[in-house]
Amino acid sequence: MRHRVVVTGMGVVSPNAYGLSDFGDALRKGKSGIRFIPRLAELNFACRIGGIPDNFRSVCETRLSKKQRLNMSDNMAYASVAALDAWHDADLVIPEDEPDWDTGVILGCGISDTETIATIIVPAVTSGNVRRMGGRVVEQVMGSATSARVAGLLGLGNQVTSNSSACSTGTEAIVEASWKIRAGLAKRMVVGGSEAPSPFTWGGFDSMKVLSRKFNDDPEKGSRPMSATAGGFVPGAGAGVLILENLETAVARNARIYAEIIGGFVNCGGQRNGGTMTAPNHEGVCRCIQGAVIDAGIAPDMIDAISGHLTATFADPHEIKNWSMALGRGPADFPYINAAKSMIGHCLGAAGAVESIAAVLQIHQGFLHPSVNCEDLHPEIAEFGTKVVREYMEFPDLKVIAKASFGFGDVNSSVIIQKWNGS
């Protein structure tokens, strides 16, 4: 039996808003969360702008106890707050003694906790002072830091793991968890991704010259997916967590259902035929999108809108062409498309999760958010211009959104999200 998978709760810590309600408003308004980051300037970064959740420390104080906040890295704190919010949003109760054996976690990040590694571990170890590091460093830097912490906060007893597939991490987690629920191996999964803001994480990207470096004086214009003047992505940070649940359980407890995850696919281009560690094999991308559509059991023309990966690098025009080819839909009947990164930057391991929450909100509330900063559409995608959502758009009939994320390693993930109509 194939169980249907629905979204019953969400929590978000985003550069442009904290919490679902403010995030929805920010999306509608095209509100940018990109700011000048003095620390990046002090450290001679070429890119001196980024998307960092605002005022998060005070949010933390309202959501986590003093003890829970001790030794908690930004990465863990973002994930923990988003997970707690999602759990409560789904109207679920945190178990006291007996774990919830039917609920698991898949929650990863792209680049681990480099801030702790750089500021605590490296100085202590290289100065021969290991014993002064304390007892809590491992739990901060282990690859499963966020899933482990969230499992403890929520008392979860099914599979608890952290996936990591670069910028595909968040979307991949949603697909993996959907399959687990579909197969009947869990009733419910807490899924998503998180990423901390750190120059030790962002430095490598700056050095690769893939970050936006020409808008340091005008930060809100810096993240420009699909623009002719896009010159790299703006690094972002935050977390997105969704509660995925099998339909029977959700209905039985009379849960609010935001949307249904009707299909998903994950693959890799194998770093062949143009694919490399940092560039996609276009056939791999197309197969991933098609795989999700086939898995959903829908015709490609049923997709109303696309929430793109669209980072504001040279790859954006290729991505649009890949969607077009994969769906067999040219400029005339191409779905609407927008890029949440235009407002929040590229949240790396959190990107797919935060952007999937944006997609679910758009479906649930019947609108499409503007993709800002692409007034000067890239000439290679000019013919798709009318389908690029540049102004806020009411869309009450919005039924199906396709979301995809692509990452270093030539990895791809895609989900198909459908409006819940009560049956």
């Binding site: 003890k67 030794n71 014993r131 002064r132 304390g134 007892g135 809590r136």
Partner: protein, 89 residues
């Protein structure tokens, strides 16, 4: 340093690690750090470092292993302070 003051400062260091700081109100020499106050082994490692910093002493791994109760910790702290003072004199 007199025992009462050492105890007071020690409890101040333990407090942030507590889910229920109220438990500390009843704490005395016999209070077990793990069984009674529910600290785990990772928190104990951090507590030892905080003790070293606050009292300006060094606690060896063997000394640390012997600390199970608040009384054990107070005794080790007082001993190390005496050692430090006599070395300085």
């Amino acid at each position: 340093m007199e025992e009462r003051l050492v105890m007071e400062k020690l409890l101040g260091l333990i407090e942030p690690f507590m889910d229920d700081p109220g438990l500390l109100k009843k704490a005395g020499r016999a209070t077990h750090l793990i069984d009674d106050l529910q600290l785990n082994s990772a928190w104990l490692v951090d507590l030892i470092i905080k003790i070293e910093d606050l009292f300006d002493i060094e606690i060896t791994d063997d000394d640390a292993d012997a600390i199970q109760t608040i009384g054990n910790a107070v005794d080790v702290i007082q001993l190390k302070i005496r050692d430090r003072n006599s070395a300085a004199a």
